[in-house]
Amino acid sequence: MPPADAPGSDPAPTAWTRKHLLGLEDLSREEMTAVLDTAESFSEISKRSRKKVPALQGRIVFNLFFENSTRTRTSFSLAAKRLSADTQDFTASVSSLSKGETFIDTAKNIEAMGCDVMVVRHPTPGAPHLLSQHVSSSIINAGDGAHEHPTQGLLDLMTIRRAKGKIEGLTVALLGDIAHSRVARSNIWGLLKFGAKVILCGPPTLVPRSMERLGCEVAYRLEDVLPRCDVINVLRIQFERQQGGMFPSVGEYSQFYMMTQERVRKAKPDLLILAPGPINRGVELTPEVADGKHSAILDQVTNGLAVRMAVLYLVSGKMPAGE
C-alpha cells in the first residue's frame, strides 16, 4: 500500500506496465488487482480535510467527451485534481468537430497542447483504440459505445470486493439491457477473471444468447435467478443505442424486470444491489430499492473516484511525487 500523500513506495502495481486502459478484456486478474489495491490506498485521501496529493503535479489530463456524461467526467476531473494534475474538459458539441474536423485531428491538436493523458468517451466502439494508434498520450477509455467502460467495471469490482470481502465464488447477475451495455461487457470480463459466476438476465431481445460462449449463464426470468444471487447489477435501458422496438413498452419491461422490494425479499438476505447510473427510478428499480439497505449505488460513486485516481496514476507511469 502506498503512503497516501506520496505514493512513491509503489502500491503493489508491479503487475501494471500498460500505457493505456482500453478495456478489461485485455487485462489480467493481476493487473485488475493492482488497480483495485491502488484505489484502496487512494480512497483514504477522500476522507482527509486536504484532499490532494502531488502525484501527478505538472501533468495535463484532458477529458475528451464525445458523448454526454455527468458522473464519469466529473469523477475523472476530480480524480485528476486530487492527484494535482491540470485538467481540461473538451466537449464535442462545442468543438471543431461540428465544423467537420475529424476525431483524430481534434485529438492530435489537443496533444499538441501538451496533453499527457486523454480520458476518452465516444459513442463508437473502438474509438479509444483508434486514437491510441494516432497519438502518443496515454488513453483511458471512459466508455466506447456499447463496447467497454473499464473504470466502471473496476469500480463495480471494488464495490463488491469491499462489501463481500471477495469476488471469487460469488454469483453476480447483470440485469437489463445487456446487448447495448458497455458496463455489462466490462463487468463480464472482470467478474469472470475474478472467478465469479455471471448470470445475464433480461428480455431475449436485450440478452444475446451468444454471451453464453463467454462463460455466462443467460436467463430471461428474473424470479428464477433472484434466489441464487449475491449481487445484482441493475443496468439502464440504453434507449440511445437501440434501434427501438426491443420490448413493447417501458411499463411491460418494468413489470418483468424492475427490482422491487418484493423481489428483493425473494433474494438472499445479504443481496448487494449495484446500478451504474444514471438510475431510472420506477423503471429499472423502485426508489425504495435504490435507497434501501441493499443498495451500494452511492458507494459505487465514491469508489469510482478512487479507481479513477488509481488508473490515472498507473497509466501516468507511477511518477514519484514532486517530480
Binding site: 478484456e25 476525431f103 465516444h122 466502439p125 473502438g126 459505445g145 461487457r185
Partner: protein, 438 residues
C-alpha cells in the same frame, strides 16, 4: 499493334480445357493459331516457369467516377486492374450520378477507352437513380454499353421490381446482379451479427439478411426465367441456396470475393476499418462454406468488389467509416495463397472462375485463348513470394486489410488488345525478330 510471341509458358485456358507448355502468338489484337502462322515476333516474352492464361476478368468493381474521384477514377482503377493481372473490369453503377442512362454508360465506356489500361465495361442500374422504385431504361443502357444490371451498393428491396427486372432483362439475355441483403435486418450494422459483434458492442448484420434475399431472388428467377447473379456471397446458407437453385435448373450464378474466403469477423477485434465491408466478414463456418462452394462449383466466379475509399474516409470511427476495401491488386495473390496453395482449387479451376466463367456471365467475347479471340492475356508468376505493400498500389486508395501480408503468385505481364500494357517492374522487353529470348 505488334506481333507478340510468348514463349515456353504453361498455357492454361479452361475454355479449351488446355493446360500445356507452349508458345502463344498474338497479332493485331487477336490470338493467332498455334505457331503464329507467317508472323514474325516484334516482342518476345520469355514465359518459362510462368503461367499464361486468358486475361482475368473482374465482374465486380467500383471505380467511383463520376462523383467520387478522390477515391478512384476510371483511369486509376483500370491501371490497378492491370497491376493485378486483370484485363477487364465491370464497374458498378453506384456513382454520382448513378449509371442509369445511356449517356452515363457511354461516359464510362469513353473514359475507359481514354485511359487505355484494362477494358472497362459499365454495369447499368436496375432502377432509376438506384432508388428501387422504377425500372431504369435497361434497353438504353445496353445501347450505351452496359453488360449487366445491378443496384449494387444496395439491394433491389422491392420484390415486385426485382421480378420485373428479371423478366424484362430477358429481352437482352443479360444478368441481374443482386446485392442480397434485407435492409430492415441490417440497419445500423457495422459487422457480422454474432458472437464477435456482441463481444465488441458493434451493431450486427445477420447472415439471415443475406440468406432471405438470396432465397427470395432465386424463387423470383425461377418464376420469371430471368438470369440472377448473387454478388459477393458470404454466408453458408446462401451458398447452399445457390447450390440447390442450380440443382433445380434455375438460372442462378454466384461470385465470391477474396476477403470472404480468407478473413473472419474476428479481425474486427482490432477495430480497424479495413475489415469493415458489406457484406461483412463472417464466421469461420461461413468461410469454409464459401470455399466449399468454390470447390464444388456452386460459386463459379471469383471477383473483388474493389471498393476504394480515400484515406480520410477510412480513418474515421468504425461506425462512420465507409464499407469496403480495394481488391484489384490482391485478387490474384490471395487466391493463390488461400485457394490454390492449400489445394482447394487447381490453377485451372481458379483461372476458369476469373476468365471464361466471368466472360460468360457478362456475355463478353473474352476469357479465352482460342485463335481469333481478343488478345487479352495475363502472364502469372505462380511461385514468387512477396509482401503486399499498399503504398505501391496503383489504385488511388489504400484501404486494404492485406497490407504487409506474405503471399505467393503475382501478375508478371499483362496484354490487352494485343498490346503489352503492364509488366512487373514496368519494363517491356522487346526482342528483335529472330533473336532468342533471354
Amino acid at each position: 499493334m505488334p506481333t507478340i510471341q510468348i514463349t515456353g509458358g504453361r498455357i492454361i485456358d479452361p475454355s479449351q480445357n488446355l493446360d500445356q507448355v507452349g508458345d502463344l502468338w498474338i497479332s493485331r489484337g487477336r490470338i493467332l493459331p498455334s505457331g503464329g502462322g507467317n508472323e514474325e515476333a516484334e516482342i518476345v516474352v520469355d514465359a518459362r516457369g510462368l503461367i499464361v492464361c486468358p486475361g482475368l476478368i473482374d465482374v465486380h468493381v467500383h471505380l467511383r467516377e463520376p462523383g467520387n474521384e478522390e477515391d478512384e477514377t476510371i483511369a486509376t482503377g483500370a491501371a490497378a486492374a492491370l497491376a493485378g493481372g486483370v484485363t477487364s473490369v465491370a464497374c458498378m453503377p453506384n456513382t454520382i450520378p448513378p449509371i442509369d442512362t445511356q449517356a452515363a454508360a457511354e461516359f464510362v465506356v469513353l473514359q475507359g477507352r481514354r485511359a487505355k489500361q484494362a477494358n472497362v465495361f459499365p454495369v447499368g442500374a436496375v432502377s432509376k437513380g438506384r432508388k428501387g422504385e422504377e425500372l431504369a431504361g435497361l434497353g438504353q443502357l445496353v445501347a450505351g454499353g452496359a453488360v449487366a444490371f445491378t443496384d449494387d451498393g444496395s439491394p433491389v428491396s422491392n420484390a415486385g421490381l426485382m421480378r420485373r427486372a428479371l423478366e424484362y432483362s430477358k429481352m437482352f439475355d443479360l444478368v441481374i446482379m443482386q446485392h442480397c441483403q434485407v435492409m430492415e435486418l441490417t440497419a445500423g450494422g457495422v459487422m457480422n451479427e454474432g458472437f464477435e459483434s456482441m463481444r465488441l458492442g458493434l451493431g450486427g448484420m445477420p447472415a439471415a439478411a443475406e440468406d432471405i434475399m438470396v432465397a427470395r431472388d432465386i424463387r423470383l428467377a425461377e418464376i420469371t426465367g430471368g438470369r440472377l447473379h448473387i454478388q459477393h456471397i458470404s454466408t453458408a446458407r446462401a451458398v447452399e441456396l445457390v447450390r440447390e437453385g442450380k440443382r433445380r435448373g434455375i438460372r442462378v450464378t454466384a461470385e465470391a470475393c477474396p476477403h470472404h474466403f480468407s478473413l473472419t469477423d474476428e479481425r474486427l477485434r482490432s477495430f480497424d476499418s479495413n475489415y469493415k465491408m458489406n457484406p461483412p466478414l463472417r464466421t469461420a463456418e461461413d468461410v469454409a462454406a464459401v470455399i466449399e462452394g468454390l470447390k464444388d462449383g456452386a460459386i463459379e466466379i471469383l471477383c473483388t468488389d474493389h471498393a476504394p475509399h480515400a484515406r480520410e474516409k477510412k480513418m474515421r470511427e468504425l461506425d462512420q467509416a465507409p464499407f469496403g476495401i480495394v481488391g484489384l491488386e490482391t485478387l490474384l495473390p490471395i487466391t493463390v495463397t488461400h485457394l490454390i496453395e492449400p489445394g482447394h482449387l487447381s490453377w485451372s479451376e481458379a483461372i476458369r472462375k476469373m476468365t471464361i466463367n466471368a466472360a460468360n456471365l457478362l456475355g463478353l467475347s473474352k476469357g479465352t485463348l482460342r485463335p481469333g479471340a481478343d488478345a487479352d492475356v495475363t502472364i502469372i508468376d505462380p511461385s514468387t513470394s512477396w509482401t503486399i505493400d499498399a503504398s505501391q498500389f496503383r489504385s488511388k486508395s489504400r484501404n486494404t486489410p492485406y497490407d504487409g501480408w506474405e503471399v505467393r503468385g503475382r501478375a508478371h505481364t499483362v496484354v490487352v488488345h494485343g498490346e503489352v500494357r503492364y509488366t512487373l517492374g514496368g519494363i517491356v522487353q522487346e526482342t528483335p525478330a529472330g533473336a532468342s529470348p533471354s
